[in-house]
């Protein structure tokens, strides 16, 4: 039985096409992926991301615990700020990619839907010796992403008595506010390469939030547009660009690994991988030949040997041409390198290009 968010009925009633994603029954599209994608790039869109996991980490040693399990420098996240981070295995493989929000006296950790159970087990396997408690808010809270250049204007209208204080929320800032009269945790974070916000609030208000934000001009968007919007700025998707068997240096996420912050799970292996240099590397590519690369398509070098695989590929809506990301040997990952993508059994030439394909337009 697939799991459903508090907005399931709303999605179905609105005519969204529902699909399975990470054990959840989620909307893949409402009006169409390109229409939704364009709305977020140019105006604002709203996504139900209540399938993601929301964990509160609290206790006297919450900070020390997170510092021990995450690769980012949790001690450097000031109150009211947040940071992208990774959980890594002792061998350096990525357990999950996470967002850590520093709230008064506790941390909110957002994890991937498909990893909720795994992360819960993994985190609890590392609590020994720490005065820490992990509490799930995944069911009690809903989570919406309001993304796009007009997201701020919409949010200000949603704010209690139009206080306007949310416009002052910095990039990656998080604050308690009241939207439509309900207590809401508002974070200036997202996954679309645009300015935007993620909202956490009591799940019983989910349908009202959705309707009222749509009423203020946010376009309902599904996971299809969420994927194309994150693909263009080359943001990783767990299970594609990152996984248990991929390390951060291969995934070009070395900037998230703070080796000098003190010991943490995976540090030893990660220090060695960094020193030796990764054998394979995530690379962006464009098609020289005619065709569209898709996830899992094989990559051959120009001698016809299998050397890697595509992680994500699609006709990029904003850029108007088929692009992709793939793991290839480090030597082939340099800009301008050429290799073949095997599309329906036939090699089609591709060329490594600079990442990201689309420069994020965050409000710093």
């Amino acid at each position: 039985m697939l799991k459903r968010t508090p907005l399931f009925e709303k999605h179905v009633a609105a005519g969204a096409r529902m699909v399975e994603f990470g054990g959840w029954e989620m909307p893949v599209q409402y009006s169409g992926i390109i229409d939704e994608h364009t709305a977020v790039r140019q105006r604002a869109g709203i996504f139900d991301i209540s399938h993601m996991g929301r964990l509160m980490v609290r206790g006297n040693q919450a900070e020390e615990f997170l510092q021990h399990v995450a690769t980012c420098n949790v001690s450097a996240i000031s109150l009211g700020q947040s940071s992208y981070g990774l959980l890594c295995h002792p061998d350096g493989g990525i357990v999950d990619d996470i967002f850590v929000y520093h709230l008064p006296e506790e941390y909110l950790v957002v994890i991937n839907a498909s990893n909720r159970e795994k992360d819960w087990q993994w985190l609890h396997a590392h609590t020994a010796g720490f005065d820490v408690e992990i509490v799930s808010r995944s069911d009690r809270w809903a989570m919406l992403a309001l993304q796009g250049p007009e997201a701020e204007a919409i949010l200000i209208q949603a704010e209690e008595s139009g206080a306007g204080s949310l416009s002052a929320l910095p990039f990656h800032g998080v604050a308690l506010s009241a939207l439509f009269g309900y207590t809401t945790l508002v974070a200036r974070t997202g996954y679309a390469g645009e300015d935007g916000f993620e909202l956490f609030f009591d799940a019983v208000h989910a349908e009202e939030f959705w309707d009222r934000l749509v009423g203020l001009g946010a376009k309902p968007c599904g996971l299809g547009a969420r994927d194309s919007l994150r693909f263009e700025p080359c943001l990783s998707l767990y299970g594609h660009e990152i996984s248990d068997t991929i390390n951060p240096y291969e995934a070009r996420l070395g900037w998230v690994v703070k080796l000098d912050k003190g010991d943490f799970v995976g540090r030893e292996a990660l220090a060695r991988i960094k020193a030796e240099g990764p054998v394979r590397r995530l690379t962006g590519f464009e098609m020289i030949g005619k065709g569209v690369a898709r996830g899992d398509y094989p990559v051959h070098n120009l001698d016809g040997e299998l050397v890697g695989a595509v992680t994500t590929g699609m006709p990029a809506p904003t850029l108007g041409r088929p692009l992709g990301m793939a793991y290839v040997p480090t030597a082939l990952s340099a800009e301008g390198s050429e290799f073949d993508i095997i599309i329906r059994g036939k090699p089609v030439r591709a060329r490594a290009i600079k990442m990201p394909f689309y420069t994020p337009r965050y409000k710093k």
Partner: protein, 129 residues
């Protein structure tokens, strides 16, 4: 969601439609297929003169999310392809049975087992959820 399934056409299980026009057969993809794929943004069609056997892959149709092979519901020689789709594929989404036609073939007589509109509509309903 119900889809347009014109009664006068024949359909393949892989969602192509066939319409007789004089000695030729015109082939496209069904309303159900275009709706499942979403906005078509990429298309590859065969060259005029290509000889197809029933069931041959004759091209590929792609949306942002998915790619799908096109299979020849009938055998024959390709005598025309819809050149209007080269620059924009929107017609496939907007008018799959009209302006969104894909290829025209001079039929060899060989054909896949094709469905009438009623059977095809049932085939679509089975896959819709």
């Amino acid at each position: 969601m119900s889809h347009n399934v014109p009664a006068e056409l024949r359909y393949s299980k892989s969602d192509e439609w066939v319409r007789a026009e004089g000695d030729d057969l015109v082939i496209g993809v069904s309303d159900f297929a275009q709706d499942q794929l979403g906005d078509i943004v990429y298309l590859e069609l065969p060259k005029v003169g290509t000889v197809l056997a029933p069931g041959d892959s004759f091209g590929v149709i792609e949306s942002v999310k998915a790619s799908s092979d096109l299979y020849a519901p009938v055998g024959g020689e390709v005598v025309a392809v819809n050149g209007n789709l080269e620059t924009s594929q929107e017609a496939i989404n907007q008018d799959p049975y009209g302006a969104g036609w894909l290829i025209r073939v001079r039929a060899s007589g060989a054909a896949e087992e094709l469905l009438d509109a009623e059977a095809y509509a049932a085939h679509c309903a089975d896959r819709a959820h």
